[in-house]
């Protein structure tokens, strides 16, 4: 790993890729919110609105052989990782053409093809699993990094500490990525944590950590390149705290009584997409019409995903108990 490779090379093409990735997440989820009000999508729906720079900045830096463990706010991770939008949307509908055969829904997107290990809806529950995936690679001597995403709410769970301890104790190649959006459901960080500087916590376990502006996709990518290269070189864990903010409610059931509208508005102005787009235009790297063209392409992709999901089929009830155990006759 040369140092040069650790730095993002911000060519025009690459910059537009980053913008496209963020816009694609935003538009997909906007459509999901609309479909939710139409009751096409049910259950819990946790949107990533405002946090797009993290998934877009980190996941493309991973190799195909690397593994990802995500949370229940994982549409962005799944889309950036390359699970087709059609399969993700069909999963939101619960159709069997979905990426989890319709069995998981919004919170449990899985894909063996892209080494995407879910979609875990228990806060912190994916962290020990990520440690175990890395343990399997470590024991075989495979050059694989496991990226483990979690929110700052997970920091209060015992499994956060157990996982960091195990990963450091056994020197396992895990990149822990804390998406610190300041609210665990409706509880502000300073109402639930004695130490709110989350990147200081890994120090207790001898894990190097970095804090990055999670609203700045270029900064996130730069930090991700450093972090992933380091995990690959050393085989040891690393920790990235991405400071971000979620513009929408925790889920579609959340009336957001715990924060002022003005606070949300303030953050929206610093949003990752608007900020990067302005910067690109100011720097002359992109023009308004180019960006509009990207938006149109995304619009088409989202429309096709919705049509795909609508066309999809319901799994027959006769198959209800399948996939509880492996079908050993198959």
């Amino acid at each position: 790993m040369s140092r040069a490779a650790d730095k993002p090379h911000l060519s025009r093409e690459h910059a537009l890729d980053l913008l496209r990735a963020m816009m694609r997440i935003r538009r997909f989820e906007g459509e999901c919110a609309r479909l939710y009000t139409e009751q096409k999508i049910r259950g819990f729906l946790h949107l990533y609105d405002g946090e797009e720079a993290i998934a877009a900045g980190i996941i493309p830096v991973l190799e195909a052989r690397d593994r990802i463990v995500a949370t229940y706010r994982e549409h962005a991770h799944a889309l950036v990782r390359g699970i087709p939008m059609n399969a993700v949307m069909a999963e939101m509908f619960g159709k069997q053409e979905g990426c989890s055969h319709g069995r998981g829904g919004s919170m449990h997107l899985f894909s063996s093809e892209t080494n995407f290990y879910g979609g875990n809806a228990i806060v912190g529950g994916g962290m020990p699993v990520a440690v175990g995936l890395a343990l399997s690679d470590h024991m075989r001597g495979d050059d694989v990094v496991t990226a483990c995403f979690f929110g700052e709410g997970a920091v209060a769970e015992g499994e956060f500490h157990e996982s960091l301890n195990l990963a450091a104790l056994w020197s396992l190649p895990v990149l822990f990525i804390c998406e610190n959006n300041l609210y665990a459901m409706g509880t502000a960080l300073d109402r639930s944590e004695s130490v709110t500087d989350i990147h200081k916590k890994p120090d207790c376990y001898g894990i190097d950590a970095e804090v990055v502006d999670g609203m700045d996709v270029v900064a996130v990518e730069a930090a991700a390149r450093r972090a992933i290269a380091k995990v690959r070189e050393t085989g040891a864990p690393h920790f990235l705290e991405c400071r971000t903010y979620r513009f929408r409610a925790h889920s579609m059931f959340d009336a957001q009584l715990y924060r002022d509208k003005s606070e949300v508005e303030e953050w929206r102005e610093k949003g990752p997409i608007v900020r990067f787009r302005e910067w690109l235009e100011d720097a002359g790297m992109a023009h308004g019409e180019e960006i509009e063209k990207i938006a149109e392409e995304i619009e088409g992709e989202v429309a096709e995903a919705v049509a795909f999901a609508e066309r999809g089929s319901w799994e027959p009830v006769t198959e209800l108990t399948r996939f509880t155990y492996a079908d050993r006759t198959a």
Binding site: R67, P128, A134, M139, S163, L166, R322
Partner: protein, 335 residues
């Protein structure tokens, strides 16, 4: 198995040694297999099951863990999904509750939630049961709770052959398998063929043939139940003893075949009566074999109390052979 046993030389072995031999076997046969848990390495295992294995296989494969049940059980799940074949040892069933989130929410559900893309071929072993005067936080029998959960399999080896043979079958299973070893069995010894190998984990076993009443049990209670059957035989009652072996999925076929033959049944279970595995077995008999019964079913379960420390109270809390005898006689109208 009895036939195979006749052909090979047998050797005196304890249950503890049989489990150890099973682990050693698995480690030798498949390099993906490794053991991890609290005190399994340097200490040699809390119940001395893994003694000597660290020297033989090294610290990477006989992996001591911190006191962090949820963390290392979850790590076992991840390692299994990543292509390894981990055996996770949880010291006792009481401690396993700290890992219940991982067992229930991940191990048991990932195949289903992922639409069959990922399975969790993990084996979790733990000690269960009372009788060592370890008081309430080390003596419970919660395997019936685990048997409630779809997506996992639950085994209870009661014999030396099962202690030796169930592990390999469990490791070959593509789904998570929990093995409950009753603490009172570790010192039990007997003859076992030196080449004893894998056993079927899908079927219950009739451990004693009988005609008058079925005594249905598993794990540590098997031996007390066999003792009860012997006592009943002395009183002219022929009891059949069924060892469930696998608590999930239950082998209805063997249970019903026995009940249809004897037309009466007692279920013996070291779990608490309310919501117990015994309740499940009785209900299944009612559902599937009610018209074959000659009388009501009976249950001998643990008293509804946290297991106490003093020996006499502890023994009074868990099923005993004389209670089984009394229950069987009562059901037969032989007070």
């Amino acid at each position: 198995m009895a036939d195979a046993a006749a052909k090979s030389t047998t050797r005196e072995i304890t249950y503890r040694e049989a489990v150890r031999a099973a682990i050693r076997d698995a480690m030798q046969r498949d390099e993906r297999v490794f053991l991890m848990g609290e005190d399994v390495g340097r200490y040699g295992g809390c119940y001395a099951v893994s003694k000597g294995l660290l020297e033989e296989f090294g610290p990477a494969r006989i992996r001591d863990t911190p006191l962090s049940e949820s963390g290392f059980t979850g790590a076992g799940i991840g390692a299994a999904m990543g292509g390894m074949r981990p055996i996770v040892e949880l010291m006792t069933v009481n401690f396993s509750l700290l890992a219940l989130d991982q067992i229930m929410n991940n191990a048991a559900t990932i195949r289903h939630m992922s639409g069959n893309q990922f399975g969790v071929p993990l084996v979790i072993r733990m000690a269960t049961g009372a009788g060592k005067q370890l008081a309430a936080q080390h003596s419970h029998s919660l395997e019936g709770w685990y048997a409630h959960i779809p997506g996992i399999k639950v085994l209870a080896p009661a014999t030396l052959a099962d202690a030796r043979g169930m592990l390999w079958s469990a490791l070959e299973d593509p789904d998570p398998v929990l093995i409950f070893e009753n603490v009172m069995l570790y010192n039990m010894s007997g003859e076992l063929p030196e080449d004893a190998g894998a056993v079927n984990i899908d079927k219950a076993a009739v451990r004693r043939e009988g005609a008058d009443i079925s005594l249905i049990t598993y794990g540590g209670s098997l031996w007390k139940t066999l003792e009860a059957a012997e006592t009943l035989a002395g009183e002219g009652l022929s009891a059949e003893v069924v060892d469930l072996r696998t608590l999930r999925p239950l082998d209805d076929e063997t249970i019903m075949a026995s009940v249809r033959k004897t037309r009466r049944a007692v279920v013996v279970d070291e779990g608490w009566r309310s919501g117990s595995l015994a309740a499940e077995v009785c209900t299944r008999i009612m559902e599937q074999a009610f018209w074959d019964l000659d009388g009501p079913l009976g249950r001998v379960c643990s008293e509804e109390v946290p297991i106490p420390y003093p020996h006499h109270l502890e023994q009074a809390a868990i099923p005993q052979a004389d209670e089984v005898v009394a229950m069987a006689k009562a059901l037969m109208g032989r007070e």
